[in-house]
Amino acid sequence: MTDRQTVWEEMPKINRDLLSPLQTTTWTYYLWVGVLSCFVAAGAGAWTYQIQTGIGQTDLHHPIFWGSYIASFVYWIGVSHSGTFISGVLRLTNAEWRRPVTRMAELMTVVALLVTALFVFYHLGRVWRFYYLIPYPNQRELWPNFRSPLMWDATAIFTYATASTIYIYLPLIPDFALARDRIQGWRKTVYRWLAIGWHGSQAQWRTLEMAIRIITPLIVMVMISVHSIVGFDFSMALVPAWHSTIFAPYFVVGAVHSGLAMVMIGLYVLRKVYHLQNYVRTEHFEKLGKLLLVTTLLLAYMYFAEQLTIWYGKVPDHIAVQNSLLYGSYAVPFWFMVSCIYVIPLVTLVWPRFRQWPVGLMMVGLIINLGMYIERMLIIVPPLAHPRLSFQWDEYFPSMIELAILVGTLALALLLYSLAVKFVPVISIWEEKLGKKHAQEH
């Protein structure tokens, strides 16, 4: 009984701690937002210029029709898998340690998906005609072709974006109610709408818990299908070294790998900035580190299986791509990538002592993300650069306009996340309370 009491007595403190990012803002925050806004504006300018003058502002040329935008698209969808994986899979397996991590990961999912959608638009040759992709009856008698993997992709991402918005919103309802009662001003009105009359009755709790229990397995299945379909975008094509059965699962694992690494960075930064040491403890970094070790091994295994098959088969079209990676024009980024996403995580994360070191884990997260970005580029560019007719072989490196758009979009993602942190409690308050209660009861 005395144990139980402590959770309840701690509640005012938990409320205060976790709502404080919403209530207090420092000048460094404004500075950070201002700097990010400048980068976003630069990126927007670069995109405007590209629309005005033509998609030729990229370095794309035939036969390399896809480049950094599609690579970024794949990368950002990968990041969006962080939230669903962590909160979905860990909720399903009833892993108690997930509680302080889920909300910030889910927030990453939503932000990453918004950003992902942008890359489709950057990529289009005639972006002002994007609505040709939407199936609605029109006088042009146009209809999208659902046999195209790109339409599968559009459908899957629409589903995923809708589902993950719902998935982050549902557990937020009690927290919105909490904020509604404690925050004044225009935000109170917004919170009142978003809390849809939450008052914490058992009927509401039961409904909410049931809904979360139903949606969790569904969203995990959506997550797996989404990145599989992103993999299908490539593996359905006849391009040598794309046409591979391993692409779908490989993409899913790769996505989780970069997603977890991103969560590691977010966890570290948020903990530092908002003094969440009482909630995000070393234990959480350690558990994430273990998961990251698993995805490293899994991804390395799949990559090895894929490359070994190409190497031993020695089909000329495929081996040309592999040679360009191993010791050709893409060797430098390739070996850099291999050390970033396989070697460095492996040699660091296997040490139990290292997994206790948040700064180190955060740095490994950064390295993995850098490596995964390069990996996405290396999946897309070298196969396209080596078509079967060797007369057409070519090379590619992103142009300044492309790089400006990529950086601007990264800044946009950071900006959206920073703004969201001021509106949404980064740790699910009621779930944290519940977790504490469970911990004290057992």
Binding site: T53, G54, I55, G56, D59, L60, H61, H62, P63, F65, W66, H123, L124, G125, R126, V127, R129, F130, Y132, L133, L142, W143, P144, N145, R147, S148, P149, L150, M151, A154, D233, M236, A237, L238, V239, L384, P387, R388, L389, S390, F391, Q392, D394
Partner: protein, 245 residues
């Protein structure tokens, strides 16, 4: 003959038209002079790319002569391979287009609808012949070159995919002329610009459904093969091997 019977049968199900346009490229006759490339540019309003754009790989060519070197110096031989859209019966570019900009006409042509194209460029990736060309910028012709544009051919804006059409405008006017006279198109009546301008007659165009057409005869040649036949794309262009091989 390389066309497998199953594919021909499948094709006949798709084809609702009396014509099936095909081309034969006799590699033994090709001298690599690129007259076809020039003729194609003039006929089809292909945008002019400067030296710089060409160096960036942005020059558009609906037909190109690929040149491969064989042997080591000093015993080198240049081999020429004219490559244009192969108008595959099972074209990999068609199903991947999300907006039906790339589709199959009843006459077996692989058509590109410029107005529909939004420039996702998946078709370009999926074409094993790299036949598809993209307009990276809006087209531009210096005066007075703009005066010589072919009125029968659309000028493509920036951001759309394009490729060899087998000079569909010539096919259409040939068919109309024949239709007025109430007859089928005669063999040799329709010639795409490249075929017309080939000094060595290495390119032959005609109706595959007409058993007496030159294309039908040449296709049966023992020299005949298709480019990357193993991919199962069933191209409408047949290449004839060089005699020296």
């Amino acid at each position: 003959m390389s066309q497998d019977p199953q594919a021909t049968e499948e094709y006949s199900k798709k084809a609702a038209s009396p014509y099936k346009w095909e081309m034969v490229v006799d590699l033994d006759r090709c001298s690599g002079c690129e007259a076809c490339v020039v003729a194609c540019h003039a006929e089809n309003n292909i945008r002019i790319s400067g030296e710089e754009e060409a160096a960036e790989g942005r020059a558009i060519n609906w037909i190109r002569i690929e040149r491969y070197w064989e042997g080591d110096y000093p015993n080198v031989k240049a081999k020429f391979l004219p490559v244009m859209c192969q108008h595959c019966d099972d074209a990999p570019c068609e199903p991947v287009c999300p907006v039906y900009a790339s589709y199959h006409t009843p006459e077996g042509l692989n058509a590109q609808v410029y107005n529909r194209c939004i420039g996702v460029r998946y078709c370009g990736n999926n074409c094993p012949y790299v036949a598809r060309q993209f307009n990276w910028f809006d087209p531009h012709w210096d005066e007075p070159l703009a005066e010589q544009l072919n009125p029968d051919v659309t000028v493509r804006s920036g951001g759309v995919m394009e490729k060899c059409t087998f000079c569909v405008q010539r096919i259409r006017s040939g068919k109309e002329a024949a239709h007025k006279e109430g007859r089928r198109v005669r063999d040799g009546e329709i010639t795409p610009a490249c075929v017309q301008s080939c000094p060595t007659s290495a390119l032959i165009f005609g109706d595959r459904n007409d058993p007496d057409s030159r294309v039908s005869h040449l296709k049966k040649s023992r020299r005949g093969f298709h480019l990357m036949e193993s991919l199962g794309t069933h191209p409408a262009v047949t290449y004839l091997r060089r005699l020296s091989e």
